[in-house]
Symmetry: C2
Subunit: 585 residues, 2 copies
């Protein structure tokens, strides 16, 4: 009873929103209102553009920007993550939809993807798999993101030229489609697209730099820069209306956007589509979650706040389920959008709710005004946004640091371009797992000797040390596992073959934090073999938990005549003394 | 010129046989002759039985026992490994052949598998991938072997009952086929099979135990026990001939065996079959190699000899190519056969050549006498041989040692039984990689404090230590990699959230042997975030090679104001001194 209101505690645990709403001040509200509205300015054009990138009607992106951020806000542990459609998952949705082309409408299939993604996120939360996705290494993620961005840029070439494209996300098929229709390009569309790209590029870095030189405060300069996509949308709308670009010059527009949220689609319920989309949904889920959690963590750490991985799984799951039930597409935390939210001063998820309400208001009031928005303007927004994601310099940086990581990045990038978005990602993940195993399979193994006059034991190759002809001290700087025990055995046997007088071999385990069952079995086998060959296998400096494990497995008995010594020094004292007492036969 | 005969040195490197033939004595020859003949006695019935297990005519097994051991003997670094058809690869061959049923004869496809396997082994040798197969962990191998043995026993039930079976190696299909035909069993076949099994079982352990009690020398008792399969073959032949079991009672026999080696089969050259069989050949290659090298290593260690992994790849490759060109099937080092060879006193691979010559002599002279050998007798030999491979007690042993390894074993075993031999193995390998990663993803992380009056730093949970409110010492007992850096970050952020007065965080890297690029990027990000939050991130006790890596990547500069300290003591002295000089605001 002394624990206060247990109901409130449980509520706060499930709904972190309840925690930050208590103690919420007027200043917080003002900050969140401003940040939420600024974020909406960026989200409106991005949402439509990413929906079209995914092969969906533009309004689907807007739908995904209404209920999803509210659902996320209620459950999120991150204060500033802004969720909605994002570019990399949008191209993954396009890839998934191309795989089930002809089975149900794309919009209905996008709902299935969002719902499956939401349920998978819930399942991961239930299994507490928040840490599992750390299995996506940085090289894989970097290579995948760069390759996806390249594929995205390619998919935007047809709308920028006003030519026919393809629903495929395989890079060679997109290039082939572009090459086939290149002659049909529409000059007006190209001009409009090119002008949009130039405007957006200028607004990206040159504009804020100029504004800062003109003494404008940094926050306002950034906000103006981030408003460029909306400015492009408005200018393009004005150009089409003023010059009749659509009717007179054939510039393709996005067409009528229905007012309000849509009624549920019955296509939702087809089991075969559900099964066919499940693998794609799983990949989208993993990428969405990893992107979101990494942005959330970076920003939380800056304010010394914490992000709860499992709570984020719940919140993102809720966001995707909400998106599915309001006609949307899969959503995640977007990098540029969240940075805008953060820089604009968002303090809590109320900013996200403000963004969502603004989106809803636009849908209910003047979304129909977007009908004559040219597709080329949205394509320009996509191209400029994702071009920043292509980071080939990372290959060079990784190459200098660790070649195997650079190789994994290049392999992932190449696999995505050659095999497509989904298979490419799978290939990259497998390559990174193998590279990781390859690393642990090549442990640093050193022969030790004693630094004269001390109890310190060091690598014989790097130090002047004393050694003993009948005794070998071998230190392995890695956990012993199936991946490396074979090499350790080989090292030991090679040493014994070259030094036939060795009678005692001490494995110094000071850097060993774990011995798996394969390594244990190999040690037992090695001890038996060496015993037959007249060599005793000993262990020294075994850490507490590892020692407990070995005792549980009964290794000490099976080592005999070998022993487990506390320290290397103790082993050397015992074995050099013992050897002197009992000379070799 | 002082290096002697370089030609001879190179020859010795390529053909280890050249090395052991020099200095070869009369005593060696006698030992090898005896061991080779005893091994042949075991190999003849096993070779026929495993060929039939693979879905091939029995003579294919005999063919594989002639040229392959000779080719192996020339290139092998192992002195005693006896190669030929083995049970587990035979069931893998059966599975592969079932996959291409109807495309070419089984015998032709078996040649393709042997040739592909040989070429893959050569490729692995060229790439020096001898260590790569250590990626097959003990739990995977144990689970796979037990499951394969169970499948093998199931496949032998139809010939033991004299009923129709299936070419499938999927356990549920075999069981279904048995159930469908159970009523048709032939009493004479069943009686003959049961009698064979009883004889073989008695000869397995009870016979040598009895002989030893009767004071027979151990080597001779073992040889008699190992001759039981040949005895069963001869008794079964006599029973069929004497009682006309085949003509009068319908006991199925193996049929005529053509004399000599076969002419090459033109079916060899179909590209589509080559491609279709390649994945199976790859799995057979890996399992053959792992089985062979582990037996070879165990026995070599007992005599303090070395086995060269890459040389073994060459020798096994040569053996498989030789098998392919002489009408055989994939070969590997067999456990029981090699043990017989070893116990019988084989000193060099000349014993293998003796075995091969004996096999060839049998094929050229009296192989036709096997025509009336009942299939049930061979099935009995297979069942008794593989029953020893089923080791379910290993699950219990692993469970007590490390549950995740027991889980991997059970998963592999279940996957092979449910999904079949090949997919089951792939599932097991993936599960073991994930389990390995799972382990490294959960590092032991400890907060340290100083044992008063010393320079020793220990876990605050296990020791009475002094700590400082503005300083946190965190030790991670694992290499930092993409698999675990997220957890380390979480640990640090959770600590900082609970201890707002911390201004300096020292990561003690005494157990860190490697930092991959993902972990490096995370550390840089963490340092920047912590700096914004008013906390300096330092490192201490960084090992030499890791320090070089970090310097190359420019981390020291990006840690500022954080530093890299030589020892934890130095860090504490510097940071507690600094804090006293500049009190917290």
């Amino acid at each position: 009873m002394s624990a206060g209101h247990p109901g409130v505690g449980r509520l706060a645990r499930l709904l972190p929103a309840a925690a930050w709403l208590r103690g919420y001040t007027r200043a917080d509200l003002n900050a969140d209102l401003a940040a939420g509205l600024i974020t909406a300015v960026l989200l409106v054009p991005q949402a439509m553009a990413y929906a079209m990138l995914a092969g969906l009607p533009p309004q689907v992106g807007l739908y995904a920007g209404v209920a999803a951020p509210i659902a996320y806000a209620l459950f999120a542990s991150s204060r500033v993550l802004a969720v909605g459609p994002v570019s990399v998952t949008a191209i993954m949705v396009a890839s998934a939809l191309a795989g089930v082309a002809g089975r149900g409408s794309p919009a209905a299939n996008a709902l299935v993807l969002a719902l499956e993604s939401g349920l998978l996120l819930f399942a991961m939360a239930a299994l507490r798999l928040g840490g599992m996705v750390s299995f996506l290494s940085h090289p894989v993620l970097s290579g995948f993101t760069s390759a996806a961005a390249i594929v995205i840029v390619l998919t935007q070439v047809p709308p920028l030229l006003g030519i026919g494209g393809t629903a495929s996300t395989a890079s060679h098929e997109i290039v082939a489609a572009i090459a086939a229709h290149l002659g049909d390009f529409e000059p007006a569309t190209l001009a409009l697209g090119a002008a949009s790209i130039v405007l957006l590029a200028l607004a990206g870095r040159p504009l804020p730099r100029l504004l800062l030189r003109l003494r404008m405060p940094a926050a306002r300069a950034t906000a103006l820069s981030r408003g460029a996509p909306l400015a492009v949308v408005l200018l393009a709308l004005a150009a089409v209306a003023g010059l009749e670009l659509d009717r007179a010059y054939g510039v393709a527009t996005i067409g009528a956007i229905p007012r309000g949220l849509p009624a549920p689609d019955p296509g939702f319920l087809r089991l075969d589509t559900w099964l066919a989309l499940l693998p794609s949904a799983a990949l989208i889920t993993v990428i969405s979650y990893v992107e979101s959690i990494s942005i959330a963590k970076i920003l939380a750490h800056r304010r010394r706040q914490r992000v709860d991985a499992n709570q984020e799984l719940v919140a993102l799951g809720a966001a995707n389920v909400a998106a599915a039930f309001t006609g949307g597409m899969p959503v995640a935390g977007g990098f540029s959008r969240t940075m805008v939210n953060f820089v604009a001063g968002a303090r809590t998820q109320l900013a996200g709710i403000v963004t969502a309400v603004a989106m809803g208001a636009i849908l209910l009031s003047f979304a129909h005004l977007f009908a004559r928005l040219p597709q080329a303007a949205l394509a320009a927004i996509v191209v400029v946004a994702v071009a920043q994601l292509i980071d080939l310099g990372e290959v060079r940086r990784l190459w200098r640091y660790q070649r195997r990581d650079a190789a994994v990045l290049l392999l992932t990038l190449g696999a995505v371009l050659v095999f497509g978005i989904e298979l490419g990602l799978v290939v990259g993940v497998l390559a990174s797992l193998l590279a990781h195993l390859w690393r642990t399979s090549r442990p640093h193994v050193a022969l030790l000797g004693r630094i004269p006059g001390t109890q310190l034991f060091r690598n014989v190759r790097r130090h002047e040390v004393e050694t003993w002809p009948h005794l070998a001290l071998v230190r392995v700087d890695e956990n012993l596992s199936f991946a490396n025990i074979g090499r350790v055995e080989d090292f030991i046997m090679a040493h014994l073959a070259r030094h036939p007088r060795v009678e005692h071999l001490v494995l110094v385990a000071s850097a060993v934090n774990d011995i798996d069952s394969t390594a244990l079995a190999a040690l037992e086998r090695l001890a038996a073999s060496l015993r037959d060959a007249g060599v005793a296998l000993h262990l020294a400096e075994v850490k507490g938990p590892v020692h407990d494990l070995l005792v549980r497995a009964g290794l000490p008995g099976r080592l005999a005549p070998g022993r487990i010594f506390f320290s290397t020094a103790e082993a050397v004292d015992a074995l050099t003394g013992a050897a002197r007492a009992a000379p070799a036969s």
